[in-house]
Amino acid sequence: MDYRNTLTTCTYCGCGCNFFLESLDGRLTGTIPCKTSPVNEGKLCIKGWNVHQFVQSEKRLTKPLLRKNGELVEVSWDEALNFVASGLKAAKSASGADSIGFFASAKVTNEENYLMQKFARAAVGTNNIDHCARL
């Protein structure tokens, strides 16, 4: 019997509310807002309250998909990344680096967002960087 409450931070927006992900025997059973967190003081919005649901969702993508002949098929990470890299290279040589734009996300960490802008600026050579919250 393994019941746990794991303190973590909401992935859904930049407020950074704290909650416990409640789990029983390795399966998530709920979200409990952290009352002693100075950020959200035991309160959450509807997204935070339901954050445990997407983790175990059947609909969640767990492997990269590539559209081939109009159909999405599972491929390896190498194939998917090679496809993206060659697509970016082709767009850059045909229309220049500023024909490419990057969207950062609230669902990843600061460090990951830092890496993404670094990649945009240093590897691709564009300042076209925006955030998914403005979509």
């Binding site: 019997m1 019941y3 409450n5 303190l7 952290c34 009352k35 002693t36 959450l44 919005c45 509807i46």
Partner: protein, 267 residues
């Protein structure tokens, strides 16, 4: 008091009369619900008092239901304040928990918390530690009733307008366990729209809590919009008491007037 509780938990666990004890624990500088099992370190036990009494309370009976559904044959201890004991009585009545599978570990609340909660019974009958505080009168309800009808109507309409429909009041509530929730029934409450349906959303919930709310106050503490939900449910409870002489959870062998057919029961 906490040492007394630790001793009790230790006795229960080492004697094997319970499989685990649901209480609170200090971890990472915070307080969280915790399942203590045999051999676990009881040093981290918390009673939910951090800076002030009861400021880190969580719906432990809800945790108990989650665990008991998975392990229906096991017996569990659970840390129980006055409101939690009222909750246990109702959860037994509604077949969500089995009384012979639950060992309450009762603690009383200090007077400061009783005053803050305006609690009618800040202690459990089955008390392991602490001393009884005094019951407190329902001043919030009296004050609200002091306003005239128009003032009251405007007050509540303005409060309800602040709702962001997070459903946190339902999700934190130790007495909400329905698989199909009326607040998700699209004939009553529109889906994905704000402002919330006024007053249907809040009054539907108040009606559903009429014979179940134990006045723990966790909903009001969880409401990001600062809506005085506890006051609303205290008023509903007051009507139940005036009409039927019923106070939810106070009597172990209660039956709810809302689940009886026939003439109104004697007051």
């Amino acid at each position: 008091m906490i040492d007394h509780i630790k001793k009790k938990i230790n006795e229960l666990l080492s004697g094997g009369s319970v499989k685990g004890v649901i209480a609170l624990a200090n971890a990472n500088g915070h307080v969280a619900p915790c399942l203590f099992q045999k051999g676990d370190d009881l040093e981290k036990l918390s009673l939910g008092d951090r800076e002030t009494a009861g400021d880190a309370r969580y719906p432990l009976n809800k945790v108990l239901i989650t665990i008991a559904r998975q392990y229906p044959d096991e017996v569990f201890g659970v840390l129980t304040r006055g409101c939690d004991e009222r909750g246990l009585h109702i959860l037994y009545r509604l077949n969500q928990l089995m009384p012979d599978k639950v060992v309450p570990i009762g603690i009383s609340c200090p007077q400061s918390l009783a005053i803050q909660c305006e609690c009618k019974k800040p202690w459990p009958d089955d008390m392991t530690a602490g001393e009884k505080s005094e019951a407190v009168a329902q001043k919030r309800v009296q004050d609200a009733e002091g306003k005239d009808l128009k003032e009251r109507f405007d007050y509540w309409a303005n409060q309800f307008l602040k709702c962001v429909k997070c459903y946190g009041c339902r999700d934190i509530c130790p007495m909400c366990f329905c698989k199909e929730c009326s607040l998700e029934c699209e004939d009553l409450v529109s889906k994905g729209d704000l402002p919330v349906d006024i007053p249907v959303f809040h009054l539907t919930r108040a009606m559903h809590m009429a014979d179940r709310c134990i006045d723990c106050g966790l909903c009001e503490e969880a409401c990001p919009s600062g809506i005085p939900l506890r006051l609303l449910y205290k008023k509903t409870a007051g009507i139940m008491n005036a009409e039927f002489g019923f106070t939810s959870g106070i009597d172990k062998n209660e039956t709810s007037p809302l689940s009886m057919m026939g003439p109104a029961p004697k007051k």
